[in-house]
Symmetry: C2
Subunit: 358 residues, 2 copies
DNA sequence: TTTAGCACTCGAAAAGAGGGAGTGCTAAAC
DNA sequence: GTTTAGCACTCCCTCTTTTCGAGTGCTAAA
């Protein structure tokens, strides 16, 4: 059954007032907010209906109403006014993005920080991890006769280099040879394939070269598994303590520990969707049952996606958070996905379409 | 004035009991703990003296006694029994150290994590930062005609590599030339010196080469300033909420925010000292006035030192924390300072001397 | 269908009432 | 002189009671 227009307007007022005050909303307050057209008694009748229908809840008989998860859902889907960012907000985001942003890891963790301070809630950031990462290029550079720098580039254009030491000193011309061998026979291979090849060449190489080679392959498999494993960063968990619903140390501790330690089970948006909102019990993780999560994904090039999410109380300011988050994700996508150039401090239009939800 | 032996024994009991229970300690409890030789009334007389002398405090008349900062100080300096680690504890530390530990950053942040879980308190870890870092070696590797990998090694044997793109395509043989130029004229130089040299060669190079070169120098100055800036990682801040003295959300928030945001002002040990203990008001930072900090430094080779510290309530278990922390710092020093080899899973002696204090 | 009126509910905060752990002091014992 | 038993006293904690008021639900009139 569709709600009447007036019921929706009342629901909207309740949600927005509760978002602001974190206190149950009284019928009188609603009547005022709605501009005096109706009396509080009328509102009370409507409120009773809304409770009946499951959109609102009443902490106890003589208290005002608070939105239920179902109420928030309706609000987010239909009632919420999709906000545009103020120039100030957009400028803040751009400023935050102008910082140094070359290294993938630092991009991702910074994204979390930015979003957290943008939203005023704790946030997390995930790099989706490349599916079947392989190496595109090797380079070995001698440092001494028993150590060398190994540089590798993954097919996600991620470069990793490290000094390797070996127990058996090697010849001077051994490294170019090895580099060549690596680039012809070990590129575009999975870890197992690389290990097979390593075994198959073991006979044909002098011991020092073979030792060096196996060190390289060991590092390679580490680099690849690292590239495949998504990284998760959490930030702003201290903000949890500023939410009235988490003034209780035990609850705060539970949520905080969950965010820091059980990073894997933080929500991600559905494939293809740019944004997802999960309200209270819609979260699968027990620890998030009393919170809402807004998560957006962005393009970081090379077919990879990054992810930033905000964790807040169910009464979080959805309009503001979604607006900022989607603008942020969009800016990041522009920065990384389309052109690979560093951030052009775009001073263009500050209004944007907002993200979606199921 | 020196305390009598009995006063010291009483003080020791008070401190240790309070560390354990976080409750004011009663004269009766003390009498029991001391083995029945004296009555509680005698203890009460002694307690009154100790309060007078400033070693103990009384939250209110008719409450037990708690140690004052001065009391803790005496305890730490004279009374505390320097603990040896149990085999289990030493084994736990070794196990934690066996993990992957090649990259400096990951060593440092892991050190913080390990220490935090070792102590049960939040912890921080700092890399001291090299004083006047310079670059020891450059290498440029072509990827396409407008992008190349730049590898550089600092004099702290830290390798950094990144893909650079340039707007002007360059010749094939340009990169080896540039590499050569860099290695002959730009190594062992400060940032300003490098920039001077850059200007002085600007005339003699074709535009594409010069553009590429300036990108390299720009990256170099970033790498160097990064190497000079100490990194600070904080972990385990969620443990703050488990301390009874920080059940109050506001206080917990204050401390947590301080640890996460004002990293610079976290205490460091005096030059040369392996360890430092700061009790309550001995901390300069206001936010740490009600906490104690135990901080140890360790050798990470190349004349650099790392730092790990633990932040806990003033009644923290100093004996346990200092024992673990100093064992940990010593193990790390062995691992990195003396030999540069990766962790040999040492199954040797599990007892060690403990660290020092002013 | 809306509204005014009013009794009723319930929680939060304030006030009150023991209870008890622990002290400080005094006077006796060692 | 030091130690100890004895005892009154203090002050916090917990539990209960009271009060207060915001807010509701219901009824009857507009």
């Amino acid at each position: 059954m569709e709600l009447t227009d007036r019921k929706k307007r009342i629901l909207k007022v309740v949600v927005e007032d509760y978002i602001e005050t974190a206190e149950p909303v009284a019928s009188k307050t609603i009547a005022q907010q709605m501009g005096g057209g109706v009396s509080s008694a009328t509102i009370r009748n409507e409120l009773a209906d809304l409770v009946e229908l499951g959109y609102l809840e009443q902490p106890h008989t003589s208290a005002g109403r608070i939105p239920s998860p179902k109420g928030y859902r309706l609000y987010v889907n239909e009632l919420m006014e999709r906000r545009s960012l103020s120039e100030q907000e957009a400028e803040d985001i751009n400023a935050a993005l102008r910082g140094k942003m070359e290294e993938l890891d630092s991009v991702i963790s910074r994204a979390g920080q930015v979003v957290s301070s943008l939203a005023g809630y704790p946030a997390y950031a995930v790099s989706s991890g490349k599916k079947h990462a392989t190496l595109r290029r090797f380079e070995l550079l001698g440092v001494s006769d028993a150590s060398f720098i190994c540089v590798m580039m993954t097919d996600a254009s991620h470069v990793k280099s490290q000094i390797l030491k070996t127990e058996l000193p090697f010849d001077e011309d051994c490294l170019p040879q090895l580099t060549n061998l690596l680039n012809t026979h070990f590129t575009s291979r999975t870890i197992t394939e690389m290990n097979e090849r390593l075994r198959s060449v073991s006979e044909q190489l002098p011991a020092p070269s073979f030792l060096a080679l196996s060190k390289v392959i060991a590092l390679a498999s580490e680099v690849l598994s690292e590239a495949e494993r998504p990284d998760v960063f959490t930030t702003g968990t201290n903000r949890i303590l500023k939410m009235p619903e988490f003034r209780d140390a035990d609850r705060a501790h539970e949520l905080m520990t969950f965010m820091v330690e059980s990073k894997e089970s933080l929500p991600v948006p559905d494939d293809g969707a740019p944004m997802k909102i999960l309200i209270g019990p819609e979260n699968v993780s027990e620890a998030l049952r009393d919170t809402s999560v807004v998560v957006a994904s962005y393009d970081i090039g090379d077919n990879m996606r990054g992810l930033v999410g905000v964790v807040g109380p169910t009464r979080m300011d959805y309009a503001a958070v979604t607006a900022r988050l989607s603008y942020f994700a969009e800016s990041l996508s522009n920065m990384f996905g389309k052109n690979q150039l560093p951030p052009a401090p775009a001073d263009e239009s500050t209004t944007r379409k907002q993200g979606e939800d199921p």
